[in-house]
Point group: C2
Chain length 380, copies 2
């Protein structure tokens, strides 16, 4: 199997884009990624495009808008892991030796697809009965409280950290810091989760150009980042029901990524993880083995996950600060890891960033509906 | 790159299934394919699932229903080519050496997703102005008429052939023959296309198990069929606008499949092609180089595409006779080719069937909306 490199990255600002279509956002991210890679439209041999609520043939529309047509395009949907599943598929094609230069795009125009918050699918009988995403994560938070003595203040510190990081990210949706007190004073959505602990509704797109070792060499490649492992695990999530603080699929995806890359949790210098809610960040980094189980919220209070901490988490601002255009999120995480590894993260640069991990989790993390989880590990 | 084999095939009856969910249909097809392959649930290492209108995480729900969870699952959407794109992705993973046994499933419960005919997407401005699928294909038929002297009677003969073939297929939606006169007497949908020349609204699922050479050998493999080539081309379809009888992406996908397999149009013994309308079958087989451009409808009248003809087309009944559950269609075509190659097609068996082609085309075949096309070539 050929090694896989990220040779270009592009990303639109995340936020509300009422004046743009999903195709336009997608095209902008693609063109920036191509430019960053130093490749032209005609160099792209195949593409994978992740989105959730954008209707038919999203990739064909976005790439067509950017001037790319006639190549193999696969639209993928794995709930909030759609974008990272696109990366997984694109990486597979290079490993197969089928192509030398491929594209992975994630794109979502949520404000165009929904007015206000989006309602659960009719077929989702659990959500129809109240088991919506905030409810699921609220229950998991309560369990974390009961089991480990975690407090609301500790969870709020996760949000405050990510909102603070977002201020240093020009592409983030939120531009001002939010204190722990402000998080706790915001409206209660599902006890114990406040408004400021829930990811927002966002529009945006992110793209990466992946290349084989051969093509990376031809491109010069001094800025290339190696995709050391890309793992996807998916299915129903019954296993987690035994203990709602356990992230079964997160661990299984991480285990595969660690094994394939030969890089273990102790080698990871920083991580972008799927913080759709404050508690979610805790469940993820604990599931990934980056922090001891049950201890993460307390350690955030101590600053361990800050940009200058032991293991910075969501230096980009995460979903809570940067925004969460579903299909784009998994790709945007990798874009952030790439920029950190290249030392291009400006005021949010993590010193000595040489190994980074991106974790993305989609779908109902409890219950019988489908779920998917990806772990990508990147190195310079 | 490893060779890829189809070692198991399964398919539900196509038709209206108000009493079943999409997940149940998908699970039924999967379990039949596993049984056919002689592999167990735990042998499946990864899965690709094609559907169009089934909402989030269709594959996780269908595979979960069948008892498979925790593996990499990728939901793919490429309009009516979703199922065949799933096969393309699954085959890629074997070529990458990532897995030895994977699953491709196509599933659609159209009667559950829509009441009656489905309306075009709000973002599809062309369809909103009248350029719906029947209108597009009616224009293309009119162009074929003007350019090649094709007649309504000749197009009706395509439908009559496929409806007749469907009678010999126990899984087909339509169970009785329809004469040319009956086709012409049916309601006009978009001149010159009558109701009996349009694919129906259907529910159904189809699945194939793909295996590497190594695994095929371990399974015994006497009934395995080789996937000699799987090609996908996609994008906007401006090129075709120059002449509406030309299938640009069909030809480009076929060209790649012919080149990769070393199998040319003259080697193809039979084909399953995407006959969403009577005229569509003509455009496809002509685009594939299986019949001379402009001549197919007249040759159907002569019986050349019959089960006992020179090159049988849509021996399964095609979309017109077997039904068209969008995401399932591309997989069902491959299931049919596999059964023909194994000599298991019963009363519709094509004598000497050793090389077959499956062609699937999704999305708007003209205009700026996205489109996708796959060509799979299989041999014994």
């Amino acid at each position: 199997m050929s090694d896989v490199y990220v040779v270009g990255a592009g990303m639109t600002p995340f936020g509300k884009h009422p004046d743009k279509t999903a195709a336009e956002l997608g095209a902008a991210a693609v063109l920036e990624a191509l430019d960053d890679a130093g490749v032209s439209l005609g160099d792209i041999e195949a593409a994978w495009v992740g989105s959730v609520f954008q209707g038919m043939a999203m990739g064909q529309r976005a790439l067509g808008e950017g001037g790319i047509s006639g190549i193999p395009i696969t639209n993928v949907e794995n709930a909030c892991s759609s974008g990272s599943t696109a990366i997984w598929g694109a990486a597979m094609s290079i490993k197969a030796g089928a192509y030398d230069v491929v594209l992975a795009l994630g794109v979502e125009h949520l404000t165009g697809a929904f007015r206000g918050a989006f309602t659960p699918d009719e077929s989702d009988v659990e959500a129809q009965r109240g088991l919506t995403m905030p409810a699921v994560y609220a229950m998991r938070a309560q369990r974390h409280f009961a089991q480990y003595g975690t407090t609301s203040e500790q969870l709020a510190a996760i949000s405050a950290k990510n909102k603070r990081n977002a201020v240093a990210n020009p592409l983030a949706q939120f531009k001002k810091p939010v204190s722990v007190d402000e998080v706790l004073a915001s409206r209660m959505i599902a006890d114990p989760l406040h408004l400021q602990e829930c990811a927002p509704v966002s529009d945006g797109a992110a793209a990466v150009v992946l290349a084989s070792r051969r093509k990376r060499a031809a491109l010069g490649g001094s800025r290339a980042v190696r995709l050391a492992a890309s793992a996807l695990k998916s299915g129903r999530a019954e296993v987690g029901l035994k203990d709602m603080t356990v992230e079964d699929l997160t661990w299984r995806a991480a285990e595969e990524a660690y094994e394939r890359s030969g890089i273990g949790p102790s080698d990871i210098r920083f991580a972008e993880v799927h913080d759709c809610f404050s508690i979610a960040e805790a469940l993820r980094v604990e599931g990934l083995g980056l922090f001891p189980h049950g201890e993460y919220p307390a350690r955030v209070v101590k600053g361990e996950a800050d940009l200058d901490g032991r293991l910075p988490v969501n230096g980009s601002g995460g979903l809570l600060g940067k925004g969460h255009p579903l299909g784009a999120t998994g790709v945007a995480q990798v874009v952030e890891v790439v920029r950190q590894l290249r030392g291009e993260a400006g005021p949010r640069q993590i010193p000595g960033a040489r190994v980074g991990l991106a974790h993305c989790r989609g779908g109902k993390a409890q219950g019988v509906e489908g779920t998917a989880c990806t772990v990508n590990i990147l190195t310079v």
